[in-house]
């Protein structure tokens, strides 16, 4: 077991003899890039129990508060408050989940992760798309949990299975649209505190809407705002689908009409904010 040469002059290097690493054949395609980036976000969520616990319990807590504390004081016409509340609650929950995505994106910028990704030979658009798709998956799983809690506290949708599924799908799609906005916020803010500050706009957006209380209980000038913002539009459509009756949702028109309007808003948000977010990320 004798070695012939002992390199005594070399300082103790905690490294093995280095085999040269072959460079890759070429840069990765956009799909591989998006999936790789998405895999990181999903793992991060799954392996950070605090995230799971905090997001689930805050979601449940506010649902319980509205259901049992404020709910008794809210006049919602012919339907039970819980049936009024849960569709709206699901729609606004995507905004709160989305604002956490903004924080995550900003954190990556703060900690140099974004610089690392930008310095790699990948499509920058694919990086953003992968991130948003992963957040969308997580957001949709969160919707499942929230909906289950809704059912547990007495929510009983009267719509057909198809209508209920469509209501759920619409919540998820609206979440997808919102995530582009929040990605843009995270990238623009550049640090966690600023991202959290900018995400506060979620509160007026959620509360000045038909999500938690009927809009006609608000003063006239506020009704004008509430009725023409996307949260109300999407909430009305989701409520109309879930309850199987536009009148129960306080709507004059048809379910199809309100769903159409909600989809238009959703598509419009994606059309505006997705290119802006990608542009923001690519900008050197």
């Amino acid at each position: 077991m004798s070695t012939t040469t002992v390199p005594t002059t070399v300082t103790a290097v905690a490294t093995a003899p280095a085999a040269a690493i072959e460079p890759p054949a070429g840069p990765p395609g956009p799909v591989a890039t998006a999936l790789t980036v998405a895999g990181r976000s999903v793992r991060r969520f799954v392996r950070t129990p605090q995230l799971l616990v905090v997001s689930t319990t805050t979601g449940a807590m506010f649902l319980l508060l509205f259901r049992y504390v404020f709910g008794g004081a809210v006049e919602t016409g012919g339907i039970a408050y819980v049936d009024f509340l849960v569709p709206g609650y699901l729609v606004t929950s995507v905004l709160f989940t989305g604002s956490e995505a903004a924080t995550g994106v900003a954190e990556d910028m703060e900690q140099g992760v974004t610089d690392r990704f930008r310095s790699l030979p990948v499509s920058r658009a694919a990086v953003v798309v992968g991130r948003v798709l992963a957040e969308w998956l997580l957001l949709t799983l969160g919707l499942v949990v929230t909906a289950a809690i809704g059912v547990a506290v007495g929510f009983r949708p009267d719509g057909t299975a198809l209508e209920v599924a469509a209501a759920f799908g619409l919540c998820s799609l609206f979440g997808f649209a919102a995530l582009w906005l929040f990605a843009l916020i995270g990238l623009t803010a550049g640090n966690v505190q600023a991202a959290q500050g900018m995400s506060l706009m979620v509160f007026p957006l959620s509360f000045v809407s038909s999500a938690y209380v009927p809009v006609d209980s608000m003063p006239g000038w506020l009704q004008a705002v509430a009725e023409h913002q996307p949260v109300t539009v999407v909430t009305d459509a989701v409520r109309s689908l879930a309850l199987g009756d536009p009148a129960a949702a306080g709507l004059d028109g048809s379910t199809a009409g309100s769903v159409g309007l909600a989809l238009a808003w959703t598509a419009g948000l994606v059309a505006v904010f997705a290119p802006l977010a990608v542009q923001r990320y690519r900008r050197p």
């Binding site: 300082t11 103790a12 290097v13 905690a14 490294t15 093995a16 280095a18 085999a19 040269a20 690493i21 072959e22 460079p23 890759p24 054949a25 070429g26 840069p27 990765p28 591989a32 890039t33 790789t36 980036v37 895999g39 990181r40 793992r43 991060r44 392996r47 950070t48 900690q111 140099g112 992760v113 610089d115 690392r116 990704f117 930008r118 310095s119 790699l120 030979p121 990948v122 050197p284």
Partner: protein, 339 residues
């Protein structure tokens, strides 16, 4: 993809970048030959980080030309990204993934297929001495281990040029030494390295060539030895037994010097630049005989990079948090030991 391997690794001509009022790069010129470690040294705000970010295609300069690994970085940034690896001032690794998973992820993003990404990640983690911790979540790593992993992430794409932006900032001395070893091992495998640092001894330890940057411009350029001789003279250094004596000591030594004596209270030393080398030491001994100061040590040495920096800029490098015990001051020519 083929890079011209004889071309300079970096060719920067007249790079300018302004952020609002601040001119981060003010006409920076630099050519880096392959096969060498280049240290960019300068205080906070000198433009080092902006320069690295420009090389990494994260910042687009307002004016100037830049070729990295023979590629025009302004016209083809995507081709530059295939040739570089970047490790920034932060450990940009995912805490909720293991060391291996982090490296595999970045390897995939460099373009390795799944199988190769696995092999490359294993090789790099081994090379960095993290094999044992490789399957643990990064959130259990120490700061030094995270930095090493971050260095590894910049390597999995087998970059021709490695960009290290203040790689050891904030690390304790032991972690710093480990990272230095890792960087030295890399250099031995033929990777070109550009590193920025505020630490003069770091540049001295790692680099073949040092470029000193101040106010967005290169103000000096050479080997560590050349830069030390830029300060032009030797230094007589005297250590007082009691810190109270330092002012008296400085006053007594001042007439010997070709420049102002410099007092370092942390180490109880007074250093004075001299023209005449050994004769100056003899003179210093005679002067000290005449004053009532207890002295531990008198020595003649070459100027440190710290002093070079002071000479060049008229102000000290902002590396005051550097413990003086990490003693890398030039050739300490101990003529006279304690009296």
């Amino acid at each position: 993809m083929s890079h011209d391997t004889s071309a300079p690794t970096i060719e920067a001509v007249g790079l300018r970048k302004r952020f609002g009022e601040v001119e981060a790069l003010a006409g920076l010129d630099l050519v880096a030959e392959p096969g060498r470690v280049l240290a960019v040294l300068g205080p906070n705000g000198a433009g080092k980080t902006t320069f690295v970010r420009t090389l990494a295609t994260l910042v687009r300069p307002d004016a100037g030309e830049l070729r990295v690994a023979g590629v025009d970085a302004l016209r083809h940034p995507e081709r530059v990204r295939r040739a570089i690896g970047l490790a920034g001032q932060y450990a940009a690794v995912e805490q909720a993934m293991t060391g291996r998973e982090n490296l595999r992820m970045v390897a995939r993003l460099f373009g390795h297929d799944r199988r190769r990404a696995r092999a490359v990640a294993d090789a790099v983690i081994e090379r960095l001495g993290l094999a044992e911790a490789g399957d643990r979540l990064v959130r259990t790593y120490s700061g030094g281990m995270r930095r090493r992993l971050d260095l590894g992430a910049s390597l999995v794409g087998a970059p021709r040029l490695l960009l290290l932006d203040e790689p050891t900032t904030g690390l304790d001395p032991r972690s710093r030494n480990e990272l230095w070893d890792a960087i030295r091992a890399l250099v031995a495998t033929g990777t070109d390295v550009l590193l920025t640092t505020q630490y003069l001894d770091e540049a001295d330890q790692l680099a073949h060539r040092i470029v000193i940057v101040d106010h967005g411009r290169v103000i000096a350029d050479g080997t560590p030895g050349e830069l030390k001789s830029l300060a032009g003279r030797d230094v007589v250094e005297v250590r007082a037994r009691r810190a109270d004596d330092l002012p008296a000591l400085a006053a007594a030594l001042a007439p010997l010097g070709a420049g102002e004596p410099r007092t370092d209270t942390a180490t109880s030393r007074v250093a004075v630049p001299v023209e005449t080398g050994r004769a100056a030491v003899a003179a210093a001994v005679r002067v000290l005989d005449d004053i009532d100061v207890e002295v531990d040590d008198i020595g003649l040495r070459r100027p440190t990079l710290d002093e070079v920096f002071l000479t060049l800029t008229g102000r000290p490098a902002e590396a005051a948090d550097e413990p003086a015990e990490t003693d890398t001051r030039g050739e300490q020519d101990e003529l006279v030991a304690s009296r």
